[in-house]
């Protein structure tokens, strides 16, 4: 069995985001970049399945600028076998990414595609779903548990009412939740070995698909600053403030 894992390079979750003055986006120069956290869970789960003997090969794929290769390199260091970097110099919307991934799927013919449930930079939560739709494959989203069987996969996913268990046919698209597992560290020798693993490069615009963006971004701005809190001296004052000023009761 073969798993394709899609990983995305995003601004590290510890970095405080700074919005550009002209409202066109956020600053990324010399900002620490990392793998999108749920994508780490996706890789980890694939590696675990490989260790259990159920999976033969893991291919990590990313779409992005030259430096996005670091994200594939990291996936290789924790256990992916080879990588694919689809080079794209500007931002591509989830639909475009899904179309690119579809091309990769057609070439690689994996049994499952793992993705993070969403990326922490644009928070779209769409790529996995769109990919499943255009591939016409079953999908399991927000997956927090995976039980791989011969021709199906049983997944547990978090929904509003609690946990839902589904069994879906292979091939399938699965998007991973943070609670799926705890990603391992890359060890020094594995980081070195990863430097020697192959990464194939493809060029997004040469794939012969329509990846042009359809959404016009009007403006990026910081959320309004939260006002500092106040101390009240009595319960009566608190109730009165909640009633008259905050108007919540």
């Amino acid at each position: 069995m073969k798993i394709l894992v899609a990983v995305k390079r995003v601004i590290d979750y510890n970095v405080q985001i700074r919005v550009k003055e002209d409202g066109t986006g956020v600053h990324t120069d010399n900002v620490k970049m990392s793998t999108n956290p749920p994508d780490d869970n996706a890789i980890e789960e694939a590696v675990k399945l490989k260790e259990s003997g159920k999976v033969k090969e893991i291919v990590a794929v990313t779409v992005g600028e030259e430096k996005a290769q670091e994200t594939v390199r990291k996936a290789l260091a924790v256990g992916a076998d080879r990588g694919i970097h689809v080079k794209a110099d500007s931002y591509i919307e989830p639909l475009g990414i899904a179309k690119i991934l579809k091309k990769v799927v057609e070439k690689e013919k994996p049994d499952m595609v793992f993705l993070g449930k969403q990326a922490i930079d644009d928070d779209c939560n769409q790529t996995g779903q769109m990919l499943a739709a255009i591939l016409n494959w079953p999908q399991g989203t927000f997956t927090s548990k995976i039980n791989l069987k011969e021709k199906t996969v049983e997944i547990v996913r978090e929904i509003d009412e609690g946990l839902e268990t589904l069994e879906i046919n292979l091939p399938a698209v699965i998007t991973c939740d943070l609670r799926l597992n705890e990603p391992r560290f890359a060890s020094l020798p594995n980081i070195m070995k990863a430097k020697k693993k192959p990464i194939d490069q493809m060029i997004a615009k040469d794939l012969g698909i329509d990846i042009k963006n359809r959404i016009q971004q009007l403006k990026v701005e910081e959320p309004p600053k939260r006002k500092s809190g106040i101390k009240v001296s009595s319960v009566a004052e608190l109730v009165s403030k909640l009633k008259n000023e905050a108007k919540v009761i």
């Binding site: 510890n14 010399n30 900002v31």
Partner: protein, 535 residues
């Protein structure tokens, strides 16, 4: 069971300007040498913080083509100012009356973090292996007592030291020569200095705590290339320190403050002195309407040659600020750190090729321009122990009239942790409340550093005696850790001493200033700590 080990010709601990210079120079001398650099930050540059007005002398020697290879060295210093501040006044000192070491017209305003990122790229192009996110946590020794290499920290331990599912044992890195370039108060460097008595016969080392904020200001307030230094208010005559204000590119101002860690009053809070400094009318106007976009702090080493330890030992070298090569009156350490790194590479090359003794490193360093500079600078810092005014007068005579050639050397009398007086001998200091626009609290500041340490890992700030903070330091000194820590790691909560180690920005001040030397900084799990951008 023995840990896994990898063999290298040279292992370098710390990807700062010194360590990266050694790596680059080694590869230029012999491209077949196996060189690896360990870095505790999550990427190169993440733990680098510096003013920084950069003198290119060492870089000119290392990479003469830096100007054409996309280096982030762009903003030449175009104007200089020096101010004495009183509480309500400011006196501009004519620059022609400044000692030549403080003239910067040939220098550049840079982000040292970005320079290190660029140096790391150059090193990797030459074949150096750099591993960010892997702190060296232990020195390894051969049977004959010489340094064998280092081990990286075990990862995936919980608070109690139990192995989590993600546990991964540390690795050993063995080398013919191990180079320690951890920066000021490196925790392995400190162990080596002790073990090999490297500071025997030297003066106690001297330190300062430096703060830096980056501000984005309006075009009218910004004069690219302009640099300004101040001394005086808000520090009193007896406390050593001053500010720097550098107008860098992109409408940014690098704004910083240094306080000598030999201050006496346990109520003094270096962080709050820095915040208060911004409220001076001569300073406030520079920042008015601007926005603070970054914050950080790091200890710096100020002892100069009187405190410079022996820089070699069997199998290993100390370079840069891990040894203490900063030039205090110049307020610069990057060029001398890089020079010590270059010289170290030359010595290692001789050692590996021709079996030359590693002591040639110190010999070569003493013959270099870097040491000559440090020699001429040696009397400035100790003269300030007489107070600001006498210090300035003496420095004028020493640096302008005699150019550092006075026939005597002043001494540093005691280590910084011994300078604190007990709380009952010193006045309390009331600091103004931050306004959230010009002045800030520690919480909002640490947020800007992006610092983080994975939860549930062993606390990396070790107490020799866990009861000492409450039983002794609180009573005698009103527990100064609450104030000298720039990000509020240490708190007294209901008679308990709390260590919020996840906020630590690796500045090392606690390790230096704790009056009983009760706090030891050790490396946390790899990748933890600040994530500085353009610092």
């Amino acid at each position: 069971m023995a840990r896994e080990a990898m063999e290298y010709d040279v292992v370098i601990v710390g990807a700062g300007p010194a360590g990266l210079s050694t790596a680059i120079k080694l590869k230029k001398l012999d491209s077949n040498l196996n060189v690896c650099v360990l870095e505790k930050g999550s990427e190169v540059g993440a733990h680098i913080l510096s003013g920084n007005v950069f003198e290119t002398k060492a870089l000119d020697e290392l990479l003469p083509n830096w100007n054409n290879e996309g280096s982030p060295i762009k903003t030449k210093v175009s104007r200089e100012k020096f101010l004495f501040l009183g509480k309500n006044s400011s006196l501009s000192w004519p620059t022609w009356l400044l000692p030549s070491v403080q003239k910067n017209h040939k220098n550049y305003i840079i982000s040292l973090a970005n320079l290190c990122r660029w140096l790391a790229e150059q090193a990797e192009k030459l074949g150096v292996e750099i591993f960010p996110g892997f702190p060296a946590s232990e020195v390894l020794y051969n049977e004959d007592g010489s340094v064998k290499g280092v081990a990286t920290l075990d990862m995936g331990l919980d608070k109690e030291g139990n192995k989590k599912d993600t546990y991964q044992e540390g690795m050993e890195l063995h080398a013919k020569v191990t180079v320690f370039s951890e920066g000021c108060r490196g925790h392995l460097g400190k162990q080596l200095i002790k073990k090999f008595n490297l500071d025997e016969g030297k003066n106690p080392q001297q330190y300062g705590i430096g703060f830096k904020e980056i501000w984005e200001v309006s075009e009218e307030q910004h004069q690219e290339g302009m640099i300004m230094h101040t001394i005086g208010w808000p520090l009193d005559n007896k406390t050593y320190g001053g500010s720097f204000i550098y107008h860098a590119e992109n409408k940014q101002i690098y704004f910083g403050y240094v306080v000598g860690l030999d201050y006496k009053n346990p109520y003094l809070s270096p962080f709050d002195e820095f915040q208060r400094f911004k409220t001076h009318k001569a300073i406030r106007k520079i920042l008015e309407g601007g926005k603070r976009i970054a914050f950080g702090a790091r200890a710096l080493i100020e002892g100069g040659i009187q405190s410079l330890p022996k820089m070699f030992m069997p199998g290993a070298l100390l370079i840069g600020c891990d040894a203490g090569t900063l030039n205090m009156p110049k307020i610069k350490g990057s060029h001398t750190a890089m020079k010590s790194g270059i010289v170290a590479a030359e010595a290692i090359f001789e050692n590996i090729k021709n079996k030359a003794d590693l002591s040639i490193y110190e010999k070569k360093f003493k013959e270099s321009w870097a040491y000559k500079e440090l020699y001429a600078a040696r009397n400035v810092k100790p003269s300030f122990s007489w107070g600001l005014i006498l210090g300035i007068i003496f420095t004028g005579i020493d640096q302008i009239l005699f150019r550092g050639k006075l026939p005597f050397t002043l001494k540093h009398k005691h280590a910084d942790h011994k300078s604190l007086k007990t709380a009952n001998q010193m006045p309390k200091i009331e600091y103004p409340k931050p306004d959230g626009k010009l002045t800030f609290d520690k919480t909002s500041s640490v947020y800007l550093t992006g610092t983080n340490h994975t939860e549930n890992q062993p606390v990396h700030l070790k107490l020799k005696d866990p009861n000492l903070p409450i039983n002794y330091t609180l009573k005698e000194y009103d527990e100064p850790a609450q104030r000298y820590c720039p990000v509020g790691v240490y708190e007294i909560q209901q008679d308990k001493f709390v260590i919020n180690s996840q906020n630590c920005i690796h500045c090392k001040t606690c390790d230096i200033k704790e009056p009983s030397q009760n706090i030891t900084w050790v490396s946390p799990e790899g990748g933890g700590g600040p994530k500085y951008g353009n610092m």
